[in-house]
């Protein structure tokens, strides 16, 4: 999926006369930024999926891009009338980890930083182990946004919990508050910091990452604005993820592109949320890991040594 869209994009690039054509696709409007290179004739452009492409400089003209303040403003507001929801089918997950890879690329993360992490789980000694992809749960009662002293992390109208890393002071109270270990911190300069220097901050993808600030899963809010599915959802080869709008009561599978009724999906499959007793009201639902057609590979990791 990801490869296909990239090809489309490169094709588009080839036929476009001016940069207007290039940025004309609204998908690139918000996140396309110029990066100067040493050579005078070509220029490198950064796409929203973190790809660097080279274009003739003569073909460029300034893109119509919202500035930082506007981006922050609309990033705080969210997409009106939407209520995003994710359903993760644990019976399908076979630990391909394409979601993790796609995510780390999109959000410019170091290999040890995970917005989404596929965990090996085992609920009781005698039960079967299974794989559980764990993104931010985008709780409706988020413990993380409550404790933020500067309103750098917040809950949007459309249900997404976002971060403004231009405001974050790096106190890490939100990490302590999150029971799902969903948040990561930029302990050092982020990956490829020099490459993205001077690039305007895109709040909805939280890129470029900044040293000394928090990052976490954002449901790829930048892609949602363009009408695309989150990166992890469309990267999955096994049909694990369903994503959609609860207001429309419709979720789409990232692999098969099948769209079904959200309420029917969760009702028929006995969906549950993680640690409901904590009262966080997650927006991520899990379908139980039953009838798996593949074996669990390897040993379960003991994390409580």
């Amino acid at each position: 999926m990801e490869n296909k869209s990239r090809r489309n994009f490169v094709k588009k690039l080839g036929v476009s006369v001016g940069a207007a054509g290039l940025v004309g696709g609204s998908s690139l409007l918000s996140s396309c930024t110029q990066v100067e290179t040493a050579s005078g004739d070509t220029i490198k452009l950064l796409t929203s999926s973190g790809e660097l492409v080279e274009v003739n400089k003569a073909q460029l003209k300034p893109a119509d891009m919202p500035n930082l303040t506007e981006q922050q403003k609309r990033g705080r507001k969210g997409l009106p009338g939407r209520k995003f929801v994710m359903v993760i089918d644990l019976s399908k997950c076979r630990n391909a980890r394409e979601c993790m890879k796609g995510c780390q690329k999109h959000h410019q993360l170091r290999p040890e930083q995970h917005h989404i992490n596929v965990l090996q789980m085992q609920d009781a000694e005698d039960t079967a182990p299974y794989y559980m992809p764990k993104p931010c749960q985008h709780c409706d009662n988020p413990p993380c946004t409550k404790v933020c002293p500067v309103n750098a992390t917040f809950k949007r109208e459309d249900g997404i919990v976002l971060i403004d890393n231009e405001r974050c002071i790096g106190c890490r109270f939100c990490i302590a508050a999150c029971p799902y270990s969903a948040r990561v911190f930029n302990w050092f300069e982020p990956r490829d910091a020099e490459k993205y220097e001077g690039v305007t901050y895109n709040i909805e993808a939280n890129v470029p990452q900044k040293k000394g600030t928090i990052s976490k899963c954002l449901f790829s809010a930048d892609r949602l604005r363009d009408g695309k599915l989150p990166t992890c959802v469309s990267s999955c080869p096994n049909g694990v993820y369903w994503f959609g709008d609860q207001n429309e009561d419709a979720v789409t599978n990232g692999t098969t592109h099948e769209t079904v009724s959200f309420s029917k999906l969760v009702r028929d499959n006995a969906a549950y949320t993680l640690m409901p007793e904590l009262g966080t009201k997650p927006r991520v639902y899990y379908l139980p890991p039953k009838d798996r057609a593949f074996p669990f590979q390897g040993e379960i990791e003991d994390h409580h040594s």
């Binding site: 965990l119 002071i169 302590a176 302990w187 300069e189 928090i214």
Partner: protein
């Protein structure tokens, strides 16, 4: 209070008291210089470490995404804790009209000021973006316990400085008027300015008493708040080990233990160094020992509540946490803090011998070290065991151990705190002269007399 003495007697006694209590100000020798050198050198090394941390990021510490609060936060809690003794001794005991604690008030305030000032600095040091500190004021959200903490810590610092300064004014005037020739002139100039033209008439004393009484009452809710709110930084989260309702009083009780131990150590240092045996008497140590036993017993009671109740149930996550403390990797530290920080001191200090100055000071050193370690095991073990497994990260993400830079910066905080205390002790008398003189039956009029 002793009965009023004759003017002649009074003058003689006052001269002696002034001489003894200004010895710390006058005294300048090799040892003082060496002490300053040590403090400034280690503080400097720590600041250098801080510079590296700012350049390279918080990654120079042992903290990572799972254990994201480490030694800095433990140290922060420790400094907030010791500062609470200022409120107990110079306000609560005063208001209860307990007399023996009067000469100790200023020592307690020194600890309070140094502790709370360093707590503020440490928290900035723990921030990923200290350059954005002002965001706390620009974008502050009152729903966050951090904002409550910033509010009460700054308020407590302000009130503590005032509670230190107000009773100092008559002393400064006294030294200005009666001070010996061996006090450096620059210090005399400072005293003259800081004495604010104090004349020592009855109306002025009335104002000081009045202002102090207001401050002593004001500091009660603020003092209780600083440590309660600090405990809420943990208790407001869902994590096992922190998710408990007794954290407020548990922290306050623990703070009194740590602070009382710090005050005893400081009293002993002044007693020996400035030859103040007649002022910090055996009796004061005896009472401080009794106070320490009392607050230790209260703290022990909270410890039993904190550990016994969840240990009886052993809920999944709590069970992992408690096993880790009782028999796991933190067991040596846990039992060390319980034994040397609470149980043994309580037992020993029941005997009069162990409440004598030297034995009590040695016990206090152990109690203070245990208090610091106790904060460490309040913060770190809980973070090492989140609800969900820690996977797909390097091994050093799973267990926390402080790096040398972290240790350097923590050392800086200790040195800076001692530096503040040392400067206060070298600048100003460590006991309130006028209050002490008054209790010895010297009339206030004599205090205002200029030196012959």
């Amino acid at each position: 209070m002793e009965k009023t003495k004759s003017p002649e007697e009074s003058r003689k006694l006052l001269d002696k008291i002034t001489f003894d209590l200004t010895r710390s100000i006058v005294k300048r020798d090799e040892l003082t210089r060496f002490w300053y050198f040590i403090l400034i050198m280690f503080a400097g090394v720590g600041l250098w470490g801080w510079g590296i941390q700012i350049r390279d990021g918080l990654g120079v510490t042992g903290m990572r995404d799972y254990v994201s609060w480490g030694m800095y936060i433990a140290n922060f809690v420790f400094f907030v804790a010791i500062s609470l003794i200022g409120f107990l001794i110079s306000s609560a005991l005063h208001l209860l009209k307990i007399k023996w604690s009067h000469p100790i008030s200023r020592v307690a305030e020194q600890v309070a000021i140094a502790g709370v000032a360093l707590a503020g600095i440490i928290i900035i040091n723990d921030m990923g973006r200290p350059d954005r500190f002002l965001n706390v004021f620009l974008h502050g959200r009152f729903a966050s316990p951090i904002i409550w903490d910033v509010t009460v810590v700054t308020t407590y610092l302000t009130i503590s400085v005032l509670l230190y300064y107000l009773p100092l004014i008559p002393d400064l005037a006294l030294i200005r008027d009666r001070g010996g020739d061996d006090i450096p002139t620059w210090k005399m100039k400072v005293y003259k300015i800081m004495a604010l033209g104090w004349k020592g008439n009855a109306e002025q004393y009335k104002l000081v008493y009045h202002a102090m009484r207001i401050l002593m009452i004001l500091i009660i809710p603020v003092g209780l708040s600083i440590h309660t709110v600090t405990s809420w930084l943990f208790a407001a989260t869902l994590r096992s080990g922190w998710d408990t309702t007794i954290f407020g009083p548990y922290f306050v009780a623990g703070a009194f233990v740590a602070g009382a131990a710090a005050v005893v150590i400081l009293m002993y240092a002044y007693r020996v160094r400035y030859r103040l045996g007649e002022y910090f008497e055996d009796l004061h140590f005896d009472y401080m020992g009794k106070l320490l036993v009392f607050v230790c017993l209260v703290y022990l009671y909270f410890n039993i509540n904190e550990f016994w109740v969840p240990a009886y149930k052993m809920k999944t996550a709590e069970g992992i946490h408690l096993r880790n403390l009782f028999v796991g990797s933190f067991a040596p530290m846990f039992w060390w803090t319980q034994m040397t920080g609470l149980i043994l001191p309580i037992f020993l200090m029941l005997f009069r011998f162990f409440r004598k100055p030297l034995p009590l000071t040695i016990i206090s050193v152990f109690v203070l070290i245990a208090s610091w370690l106790k904060r460490y095991i309040i913060v770190i073990p809980t973070m090492e065991h989140p609800f969900l497994p820690v996977q797909n990260v390097p091994d050093y993400f799973k267990h926390y151990s402080p790096t040398s830079i972290e240790i350097m910066i923590t050392l800086f905080s200790f040195m800076a705190a001692l530096l503040i205390i040392t400067v206060l002790a070298k600048m100003f008398p460590v006991i309130t002269i006028w209050e002490y003189a008054e209790e010895k039956g010297i009339d206030k009029k004599i205090l205002a007399e200029p030196k012959k």
